[in-house]
Symmetry: C2
C-alpha cells in the first residue's frame, strides 16, 4: 500500500506559490514592527506542559493542546500560543534587559480543533509585546502598531474597527457598583465573553439567572445590560465616570484620535477569553458584512512574568494569525499577485550544458536568479516546464549564443523576443526589480 500524499489534517503544505504569499505577508509584518522599534525573537515549539497549564484558557489546555511524554518521561506540549514562552524568556533575564522591551515573533502554533474557514490546526501568529510600561502609553502603541500593520497592506480605516474595553472597568462595575462577589463576577465574565455567540434573549435569560432575588429587585441585571450596551464612555453610569479605568480609557481614546486612528470603538462586552488579561483589552474586527468578525486582538497582562519567581513586569501585547489576516486581505482585494523570485529560466539548445556553464555563472555573479533546465529534454518540453513554474522570462542558450556571448530571450507573457549581452540583460532585469519595489 502506498503512502498518502495528504498533509496532516488541519495543516498546510506550502508550495512555492503559497510560500511566496506567506513571505510577502511576513515581510510586511516584520517591516512595520521594526519601524516601531520591535526586535524579533523566537522560542522552541516544544515547552514543558506546566508552562501552559496555569496561564492559557482552560478550553485550550484541556481540549486543544498537543501534549505527550518525551522519551525521558517529561510531559511536553507543542505551543498553543507564544505568550507563556515570551514571558518565560523575559523572566529569565529580568535584570539584564533594557526596558521598555519591544519584541515580536512570528511562530507557528498548534491547536487541536476541528478545521474550518479561518481556523486550522497549524497556523502562524505574529506576536507583538511591549514589556516595562505601566501606563496607557503602551496600550496606545500596541493599537498603533496593529493599525499600521493593516494600513501597510493597503487597508483603509473603513475596512476594520478597533474595539476596546477595560477588564478593570468591568470588574469595578460588577464588584463595586453591583456588589457582586468574586464567584458571580468570574461566572458573569465568562458569560459576557460568549455574548456574541448566543441569541440576545438567551443571554439576557442567563444573566438574569445569575443574580439573586434581592439583586434582581434592585434591577442589577438591567443595570448590567445597560452597562454592556454603552457605545461610548459618556454612556457609562455616573459612578464610573471618574474612576481610574474610565480616565485611562479616555486618555487612550484621545491619544488614538491624535495619532489618526478614527475607527476605535468602546465596547464594554469585549472580554477576550484568556484569563491572563488584567486591564485594557482590544480586538480588531473586519467590517466586511460578509465576514464581520474578530480578526485579532490583545491587551494588558501584567501578571505573567511574575509567575516565574521574579518581580512582575507590566506587559501589553497582541497576536495576529496568518490565516485570518490572509482571509481579510483576500476578501478586501489587498493581496497582490506575487511573482516567482526566479528572474531567468534558461532553456538549453542541444548538449551545451557544460559549455553554457560560464555564461550562466556570469549571470548569477551579476546577481541574477537563474534556473537552468539541465534535464536534457527537448526544447518544447523545457518551455512547457518553465510555464508550469510560472516563469516570465526564458533565455535560450545554444552553440551560437555561447560563441557570441549573447543571450536570446523571450517574455512568455508578452511574447516579446530579443537578444542581448549578459550585461545588458542583467541591467534590464535589475531595472525591472527596482520598478517592483
Amino acid at each position: 500500500m502506498s503512502l498518502s500524499t495528504q498533509p496532516y489534517k488541519g495543516a498546510r503544505d506550502f508550495y512555492p506559490e503559497d510560500k511566496r504569499v506567506q513571505r510577502y505577508m511576513f515581510d510586511v509584518l516584520r517591516g512595520v514592527c521594526q519601524r516601531f522599534g520591535y526586535e524579533e525573537y523566537d522560542a522552541p515549539i516544544l515547552e514543558p506542559t506546566e508552562l501552559f497549564a496555569s496561564k492559557t484558557s482552560d478550553e485550550i489546555v484541556n481540549e486543544q493542546t498537543y501534549t505527550f511524554e518525551d522519551r525521558g518521561g517529561r510531559s511536553v506540549t507543542i505551543r498553543t500560543e507564544m505568550t507563556p514562552s515570551v514571558s518565560r524568556m523575559v523572566a529569565a533575564r529580568r535584570q539584564e534587559l533594557g526596558y521598555p522591551i519591544r519584541w515580536f515573533s512570528i511562530p507557528n502554533i498548534w491547536r487541536y480543533e476541528r478545521p474550518q474557514r479561518g481556523r486550522l490546526r497549524e497556523f502562524w501568529q505574529l506576536n507583538v509585546d511591549i514589556f516595562g510600561v505601566a501606563t496607557v502609553a503602551a496600550d496606545v502603541e500596541a493599537m498603533q502598531v496593529a493599525d499600521s500593520l493593516l494600513k501597510e497592506f493597503g487597508a483603509t480605516s473603513s475596512m476594520y474597527q478597533i474595539r476596546i474595553n477595560s477588564r478593570k472597568l468591568v470588574n469595578e462595575f460588577l464588584e463595586k457598583n453591583l456588589g457582586l462577589d468574586e464567584t458571580q463576577t468570574a461566572t458573569l465574565i465568562r458569560l459576557i465573553d460568549k455574548k456574541d455567540k448566543m441569541p440576545e434573549a438567551e443571554f439576557v435569560a442567563e444573566v438574569d439567572a445569575l443574580f439573586s432575588p434581592s439583586q434582581r429587585d434592585k434591577d442589577e441585571p438591567g443595570q448590567l445590560l445597560q452597562f454592556l450596551g454603552a457605545q461610548k464612555l459618556e454612556d457609562l453610569p455616573q459612578a464610573l465616570q471618574e474612576s481610574v479605568s474610565t480616565t485611562e480609557l479616555k486618555a487612550l481614546f484621545d491619544q488614538l484620535q491624535m495619532s489618526g486612528i478614527s475607527n476605535a470603538q468602546f465596547s464594554p462586552s469585549l472580554m477576550r477569553g484568556f484569563d491572563y488579561y488584567t486591564d485594557i483589552v482590544f480586538e480588531v474586527f473586519d467590517t466586511d458584512p460578509e465576514n464581520n468578525r474578530s480578526m485579532f486582538g490583545g491587551g494588558r497582562y501584567d501578571g505573567l512574568v511574575g509567575l516565574f519567581g521574579v518581580e512582575p513586569v507590566p506587559t501589553v501585547g497582541f497576536g495576529m494569525g496568518d490565516v485570518t489576516l490572509q482571509n481579510f486581505l483576500q476578501s478586501h482585494g489587498l493581496l497582490p499577485e506575487i511573482a516567482p523570485e526566479i528572474e531567468l529560466n534558461v532553456v538549453l539548445i542541444g548538449d551545451v550544458q557544460e559549455k553554457a556553464a560560464p555564461l550562466v555563472q556570469e549571470l548569477r555573479q551579476m546577481g541574477l536568479t537563474v534556473a537552468v533546465d539541465i534535464s536534457g529534454r527537448k526544447l518544447d518540453k523545457q518551455i512547457q516546464s518553465a510555464e508550469k513554474r510560472g516563469a516570465k522570462l526564458v533565455a535560450f542558450i545554444g552553440e551560437s549564443e555561447i560563441k557570441s556571448n549573447m543571450v536570446k530571450y523571450k517574455n512568455l507573457q508578452t511574447g516579446e523576443e530579443d537578444t542581448k549581452s549578459p550585461q545588458r540583460l542583467v541591467s534590464l532585469l535589475k531595472d525591472h526589480r527596482k520598478a517592483l519595489k
Copy 2:
C-alpha cells in the same frame, strides 16, 4: 512554586541578538539558493508517523523521534528531517509540476538525542533538492550550490573539503567483484558507515569476520580494504575503471573542476547513514584540525517519491544544519557582528510623549526604525536601557526640540553629538544603511 525559566532541554531560546544571527545566516542561504533558481516551500512540522517509518534510518525512527497519538488517536511524529515531507509534496502534484523542480526550505527539525556540541534536539536545516534530473548534472549542481553557500559566507576552499562517493559503485564492487550476497553487502555497508568512528584495527577485524573462509582465501577482505583506501578514481581496481559508476564519477569530478571547485575528494568509504540514497553521495568536511568533521551532506535518492504510488522521480538533495554551520563560521572567524535593526532610540525629556508623537511618526514615515522610551523614567535610566539593548544612536526629544522641529542625537559608541532636522537625520541614517550593504 514558581515555573522554570529554562527552555526545554536541547532547544534554544532566540533572544533578539541570537535571532539576528539566525536571520543573517538564513538570508545568505536563501539568497544563494534563489540565485541558482531554487524556490522556497514549507510543510507542517507534524506528519503522520508512517511517513518516517520506512524511509529514515532505523536509529532515528526507533530512538530519536518525538512520536505520539493526537486527540483523535492518530500516530503523529514531529519531523526528524524534511526529505519525506518534500517527497510527499512532489508526489501529490507529480503531474502538474514543471521539472526540473528546484526547491529549498529551512525547517526546524526535532531529534531526541543527548545534547552536545553541534548537536541539539531542535535545530534548523536548509534542505536543497532538485527533482527530475537523472544525470550527474543534478549532482554537480547540488555540490555547486553547497560550495557557493560556504563561499558566500566568505569561506575559502582550504577551509572545507567535499568528499564524494557512489553507493552504486560500492554495491557493484561488493556484489560483482567480490560476489557477496545481499545480506553481506547490507551488513558491510552499515559497518563501513561507522568506519571513521572506530579504531582502524577494530574495523579491520570486523570486516574480516564478515567474510567466509573461502572468501578470505581469495583475500577479499584485503581487496575491500584496498578499495576503501582509494584516494582517486585511478586507484580503483581495473575491473571497475570502465563501469557506469566510475564513468559518472569521472564526469562529476571534471565538471566540478571546470566550475572552479578544487577541493572535491573521492572517498570510497563515505556512505551516509540514510538508507534511501541510491547513487552518488557527498559530505562537506571542515578541514580545521580542531574541528575536522562532517558538516553536512546529501546525495541522490531516486526512490522516495515513488513510495507514494506515483511514477518515481530522480532526485538529488542535501541538508545543512544551522548549529554546525554556525560553529563552522565562528571557528573560522566568518560570523560578522550583526547590529540591532533599531536605528534610532528616542529618549524623551520631560512629559512630552504626546507632543513628540508627530515628530516620531514623521521619522517612521520616512522609513526609519525608531524605538521611543515611553516608560516615563529619568533620563539616565532611559539611556542605560538603550545601552542594554545595544543601541548605537540615541535621540533626545524635549520641549525645545519639538518647538524647533530638530532632533538632538548622540552616538553612544563614538560619543559624537549633533542636532539635525528630521530630513537630514533620516538621510544620514539611510546613507549608513547603504554603507552596510
